[in-house]
């Protein structure tokens, strides 16, 4: 398997883990919308982003990013909290828990393989147009949609 195929294979593991997590926890079926290796995109503006560092032979950072409204809807379906009553803390914990479950699922699948990894705790930031700058960076991006919800998954190898 070449490097590009390997990146795509691992990316799809994370993508399917995301779809499984969201349908299980929120009852929302996400459709694959876009997939790209070596993306040059920056994230959309006005996003909430959950992150985890994947430490292993291929160290990387996993990002899940969604608009505030999209995330509020997902967290509403997960918890039963009305989206109008949702606090920033609820949203932070929601995206943090999603990224934690997605990374945890793939970690188990890859345990014992040459691409196995350990995880940090999830962390979250909010803001516009964050850019990751590193000359040798490689990565994977996929977007998912369901009705008004769009969520971006990005893996940046560091």
């Amino acid at each position: 398997m070449g490097e590009a195929e390997s990146l795509a294979f691992r990316g799809r593991l994370f993508g399917e883990a995301l779809r499984n997590t969201v349908v299980t926890m929120a009852g929302i079926t996400l459709d694959w919308a876009q997939e790209e290796n070596q993306p040059e995109h920056i994230f959309q503006t006005e996003t909430v982003t959950g992150m985890m560092v994947l430490a292993g032979a291929y160290p990387a950072v996993l990002f899940l990013s969604a608009s505030r409204n999209a995330l509020a809807e997902m967290v509403m379906y997960m918890t039963g909290i009305d989206s109008s009553e949702m606090t920033d803390r609820d949203l932070d914990d929601g995206i943090g828990e999603l990224v934690n479950m997605v990374a945890g699922s793939v970690k188990t699948q890859l345990k014992g393989s040459e691409v196995a990894f350990q995880l940090t705790s999830p962390f979250v930031f909010r803001g516009k147009g964050e850019v990751i700058s590193k000359p040798t960076v490689s990565g994977y991006l996929a977007s998912f949609e369901a009705a008004q919800i769009q969520i971006l998954l990005k893996i940046v190898y560091i």
Binding site: T24, D90, N100
Partner: protein, 133 residues
């Protein structure tokens, strides 16, 4: 309303994620259980002391800041006052080694995130020896 002995069922959730605690609160509401919430291991051990261990079931996350869930589990199961309390690990740690490790430390049940509300309530009832609801 489910009861054990002379008091209503009381469950404790130990998870640093408020979202998971809210999901477990929804399950507790469905089951008409009281719920004690702790956002980390230290708070859990203090709340156990505060209520003299009068808890029927503990749902325990594994990865938490400070003292992790595995260490909390060991402390609970090594304490004669609390070791009778059933503990269900609720975690993303789904590898067989983790499950065996938790069971060897005294965990009674193991639930892997993500889960549906139906799976959660069913598992809670199983932990309490009440079978499916």
């Amino acid at each position: 309303m489910p009861e054990r002995g002379s008091h209503n069922m009381r469950m404790m959730t130990v998870d640093d994620s408020s979202v998971i605690r809210k999901i477990i609160r929804s399950a507790a509401d469905v089951l008409e259980f009281e719920l004690v919430e702790a956002e980390d291991g230290f708070a859990a051990l203090k709340k156990l002391d505060d209520c003299s261990g009068k808890i029927d079931l503990i749902l325990l996350d594994w990865n938490m800041p400070g003292i992790n869930g595995y260490e909390v589990l060991q402390k609970i199961k090594q304490n004669p006052s609390y070791q009778r309390i059933p503990v269900m690990m609720v975690t993303t740690e789904s590898h067989k080694e983790n499950i065996v490790q938790a069971i060897q430390a005294g965990a009674d049940h193991y639930m892997i995130k993500p889960f549906t509300m139906e799976e959660l309530t069913k598992k809670i009832m199983e932990c309490l020896g009440k079978g499916a609801i």
